[in-house]
Amino acid sequence: MNRRTQLLEAALFSASRPLSLDDLQRLDPDATAEEVAASVDELRHHYQAGEHGIVLVEVAGGLQLLSRPEFGEAIAEAQIVTRPRKLSAAALETLAVIAYRQPVGRAEVEEIRGVSVEGVLRSLQDRGLIDVVGRAEGMGRPLLYGTTMAFLELLGLRGLEELPRLEELSVALRPLAEMVEQ
């Protein structure tokens, strides 16, 4: 592979979308269209000789390097692409806020956590740990979230009343208790 072909390979590898010939041309503005096409051909040949786990395919938007489909199942089974076993710290914290303050709107959760929680809310909802339980009064009637049965099951609780009460937690929790009363 010459240097230009290597550059195109690196770009096709790192891109999060298929690359058009225009995209590839922009990588090396000095190259002629023929030179770019020749590099693409070289790559296609290299990967299509059946010697590799990767192939170069033409999809709607352009060219893309993909792993060969026959390996998909083995990769999925080894859980190499997806590996969600534990909730992230961000998800746990959001879940904690919702558990203790439900029903609660997104704005309030964001105010407490000091960060945007849109994505986290969606993923908690996808996992069935929280759900929309109503709408608040007032402007925009924002959605209110609460925890689900699955949440209780996950924690092995019979009901929300079995969550540790704030007073029973360490001293660090007192400020929240005060805030809740406000």
Binding site: S14, A89, L155, A172, L176
Partner: protein, 250 residues
Amino acid sequence: MSLSAVSAPPVVATSDTPFIVRLDAFSGPLDLLLHLIRHQEIDITDIPIAQIADQFLEAIDALGLNEAADYLEMAARLLRIKVQMLLPRPFDEDDWEDPRAELVRRLLEYEQIRELATWLSTQVELRADRFPRGWVQPLPQPEPPPLVVDLTELVAAVERVIEAMPQPVVHRVIPRPLDVEGATRRILTVLEERDRLDFRELFDERPTVADVISALIALLELARVGRLLLTQELQFGALTIAREPTHAAA
């Protein structure tokens, strides 16, 4: 890093050639202090504290209190060391403990951290030129592995949330010049009424940096001439001001 972002100040600063430093170019009071020391090629084991303290105060004077909180603590520390340096040394020099020693230790430790930060930054940049695979391929999804969460984790998460809750914002204030004389008068007036008070009682709800620094300088001066006693139980604890017994109220 931060240093290169600062326009070069004069090599030697005197009272008529004040430092002009952009504080937002510094990552904290230690960074600023190191800059003052290294830029003037001062021997770090023999810091002219009076000169450095003045330059430090000058640099932070223009700050609002909100940004200055971390800097104020350092200002107080410098002023305390400055006063300690003025106290008569014991006859036997071996018994003298250099009041600057702890500060020097912290500065050197911090300088190490800064060097490491530079290394990290270079490393990140080298790495930033190598990209991982950009596209996440949709693959047949196996049964997702069961989630693991327990109550302890949830409780820990609650505590983290509380710890990280945003602090109330103190509004920016317009800087005022230092007024050490006024602060001295106020302290003496209060001490005529009371035997002891907490440092914070000297201020109203929203003191300016100038207020705090003025009071600090006044206090340290009054302590030095023996008009009052300053005590601090813990390193970052409350500062208590007490009347010297010899100046007891009539």
